[in-house]
């Protein structure tokens, strides 16, 4: 059934090419094609989710095509629990984003073509069996996102502010990608291949030298840290999300950040156990700073999108903490949070985008009384805020518990301090999120506020309902996703926990 996975990943790209090849394609046609293509991806992802064998270790649906046989690079895709999570996230956000991309009016053919390419890039990075192609697809994203923000973004400052925000993001994320490339080149030197499964085996039978592990861990943590907007490499994120058009900020904050987390969980943590254990304290400290600093700055924001941008930085801290726990529980928590947090952030950006689209402003206070003026938007905003806070019933709750438990299990004093800080971070995030909800949804309607109509059509409501439904579903039935995640996290966790063979015996 490899073909299902291949179509899932490459389908959006094929649709993008189709769009460019049809010269007369109008905006409406392109929009429908984009919705259809991402819808197909979502449907196939559901099929993969159903067919996924929850009792097996390792990658499933694996396809391979020799690409550069001299260097041992195969082009191919595969899924395990971790990538299943990331692919589900991507497919959901991509479909919702395509539906919510009503704010694109000019040159929509180019927009949707780039957007679909972006989707394939993320899916490719999440499913590549060969780490060369992980880099290949991740770097590919940089290009698309720049053009999308520069071409269709806008900031209240006007002028070329949006373009500059896009360029800053591109340079930061590009630098991150290049750092990971250097790490991957060193990894190949140590392990002799770019194939992830083979590298895992090699790292088990002959752990890489400690010095090399440390060097690679630093490169990966810095490189993926940029994508994850880890402090102090986060400065690009809030302005870029704020500048991007709705669909792109959903995708950027929801999915692209996930590439950083995915990279740490897929490459750094399992392949470099000693190097990452050496790095873990720094990672925990950075995670703690992210949580508190992001939340602190978010408290002061009056602009919805900037508030969400900083909230997303705060969220990244939990992901870092989960990775730093260096155990299967923490990793699973981080992976599940990538899904839950990503969906909630994307939903929030979609809602704010819809409000901005109508009113042309995005001051939190300008939407006072939203609950009465536009009940659907108001209810969705409250629900999304609660999901982002990680209240019980939403996916975020489970993942926060897992991250905190994993961090506590790790046992070191520093980690426990970080966990306590993380819990306090939840209080801070309740403060900014509920504050925003109070000012932006409840309260008396401001008579001077710009007119705002509710979303009434089913098609218009679909993206919000879909994302909320999935968040609730995984909140009540987390095991649907956490079982496969935990299985793959356990299977790649430190050798002492694995029972296959006797690792380390044939060490020279």
């Amino acid at each position: 059934m490899e073909i299902v996975l291949i179509i899932t990943v490459l389908g959006p790209l094929a649709a993008a090419l189709l769009m460019l090849l049809v010269p007369a394609a109008s905006g409406g046609v392109c929009r429908r094609l984009a919705v259809a293509a991402t819808g197909l991806t979502l449907a196939l992802t559901a099929v993969l989710f159903g067919m996924f064998d929850r009792t097996a270790d390792g990658l499933q649906f694996v396809s391979r095509l020799p690409w550069l046989p001299e260097l041992g690079i195969d082009f191919g895709f595969g899924l395990d629990g971790l990538s299943l999570t990331a692919v589900s996230l991507t497919a959901l956000v991509a479909f919702a984003g395509a539906l919510a991309a009503a704010d694109v009016r000019s040159r929509s053919r180019e927009f949707y073509a780039l957007y679909l390419t972006l989707v394939t890039g993320a899916l490719g990075a999440f499913t590549a069996t060969n780490l060369f192609f992980f880099y290949f697809f991740a770097e590919f994203e940089v290009l698309c996102i720049y053009l999308l923000i520069a071409g269709w973004g806008r900031l209240p400052e006007g002028g070329d502010a949006a373009e500059r925000a896009g360029l800053r993001m591109t340079l930061f994320v590009g630098a991150g990608a290049v750092l990971t490339l250097l790490g991957l080149l060193l990894l190949r030197q140590a392990g002799g291949t770019f194939d992830w499964a083979a590298l895992l085996t090699a790292s088990r039978s002959h752990p890489f030298p400690l010095a090399a592990q440390k060097a690679m861990a630093v490169l990966f943590v810095a490189g993926f840290g940029v994508m994850l907007s880890a402090w102090p490499l986060h400065v690009w994120a809030p302005p870029a999300y704020a500048a991007a058009p709705t669909a792109v900020s959903m995708f950027g904050a929801g999915v692209l950040k996930g590439i950083g987390a995915y990279g740490l969980l897929r490459i750094a943590a399992p392949l470099l156990p000693d190097g990452m254990r050496w790095c873990a304290p720094a990672l925990a400290v950075v995670g703690m700073i992210n949580i508190l600093y992001g939340a602190w700055i978010a408290l002061r924001q009056k602009d919805w999108k900037l508030l969400l941008g900083y909230a997303s930085i705060s969220h990244a801290g939990y992901l870092l903490l989960g990775v730093a726990a260096m155990n299967a529980v923490g990793w699973s928590g981080a992976a599940f949070m990538m899904l839950g947090g990503g969906l909630a952030t994307a939903l929030m950006f979609a809602l704010v985008g819809a409000m901005e689209e109508q009113t042309g402003c995005r001051d939190v206070a300008a939407f006072g009384g939203l609950g009465r003026r536009a009940p659907f938007l108001g209810v969705c905003t409250v629900m999304a805020a609660l999901a982002l806070l990680g209240l019980p019933g939403f996916a975020g709750f489970v993942s926060e518990i897992m991250v905190v438990t994993g961090g506590w299990m790790e046992g070191s004093l520093l980690m426990r301090v970080a966990v306590v800080a993380a819990v306090w971070g939840l209080v801070l995030s309740a403060a900014y999120m509920l504050g925003a909800v109070r000012n932006g949804v409840y309260g008396p309607p401001d008579p001077a506020a710009p007119a705002l109509a509710d979303i009434r059509s089913i098609a218009g409501r679909l993206p919000y309902i879909l994302l909320l439904a999935v968040l609730l579903a995984f909140g009540f039935q987390p095991r649907w996703m956490t079982d496969p995640i935990e299985r793959s996290a356990v299977s790649v966790a430190a050798p002492a926990a694995s029972s296959q063979g006797s690792p380390g015996v044939d060490k020279p």
Binding site: F132, Y135, L182
Partner: protein, 474 residues
Amino acid sequence: MMDLYSIQLEVLLVLLGALALVARAVRPGLNPRWLGGALAVAAGALFLYSFTLSPAAAPAFKGLCRLDSAALFFKRLLLGGTVIALVVAMEFPALRSAAVECFALMLFAAAGMLLLASVNDFVLLFVALELVTICFFAMTSLLRQDPAGLEAGMKYLIMGALSASLTIYGIAYIYGATGHTQFDGVRVAMSNGAAAAYRFGFLLVLIGIGFKAAMVPLQVWAPDVYQGGPTPAVAFLASGSKVAGFVLLLRLAAAGLIPAEGGWLILLAWLAGITLLYGTLGALGQTDLKRLLGYSSIAHAGYLLMGLAVGTPVGRTAMACYLVQYMFTVLAAFLVVSVIGTATGNTDGRGLAGLHRRSPFAAFALFLAMMSLAGVPPLSGAVAKFLVLLEVVRMGSANGTYYVLAGVGAASVVISLAFYFSILRAALVAPDNGAERIELSVPTRLALVVCVIVMIGLGVWPAPLLQAASGLLP
């Protein structure tokens, strides 16, 4: 007869150039565009014909040159580049009366480049190098009414003369130290330790060739000449001439003439790093596309030198792959430069504005070329950079300098995104000034299609190229 077999492509190119000059003398009214088209077709036929040739086992002309498989590989590449450069020239109306001379000079220069690909003797090396350089002296000053063009020609002339004198001086030292000018003889003579005189001579030759390749320390001419020179001449200078310079360096390296001792490879690594940084940092803030390509050309010389500096066959293979894709990427950029320069009279932001509407295909090709130069997947430039960096990092375990070099290469990739994206911004994002559409002529369109196919094809499916290039240069 075997001797002539080895240089038949060069002979045919020179005959073709002479034919162009005769045709102009006999029929002064001949439309230069038609003549250029005919010459491009003829050069294309030569390119196809070159696939019927097979490598000759023995060196020709008592060892002056050899048509081995590597020579044939690069001759095909250079011929392909010549065809596209001729298309640039035929569609460049500003040349006017000088058009036919430009075609002829291009063909003569191409003959010199092809000869460089098979050179096996320092004397022939110098002659072929000068054949190329002198043709370019004339080509860069073809626009006699344009002060910027004349200035460019003058700068190229002075630097070229300097490099030629360094080269010949170095060859004299090499001959003095070894008693040979043929590569094989030189290698045998220095096999038990290179004399100091040889090393000095080789350094001078390296710097002299570095002029063609636009590498430090003879790189300063590139931005000025690229900006001021006539676009067809610059296009050929940036593609053919540069590639030929590196092919020559590859041959010298493969012939074992780089002294093994004394940290020569480390010197090359330093040169590569400095060249790379000079080009990358210089390109920041440039708004004129031609000038930016001049700095970018220096930066790429740095990447190419990396492949040489590792001193391994794998590195040389990576460099050969890099050269193939670079040729077509640069030509794609210059085809677009030529189109917008002709249509709007300038090649900075004003000329680029609204390109996506005025000529979607040219904008698409420029987009791919910039991304390929920047090394963004899935374009050919990304694969080439990856191959080079892979080998540089691999050699890092032998000498830490290579780790530094890889770091410099990686940093430059990021910095270069800033200026390549600034071009894209001007062409794709910046406000459209409402200028009229640009219609691409059929030859330009065809040439762009070829370049686009190469850029995407080699990026998506590089295995055949890597197979063809590996093992060429032991």
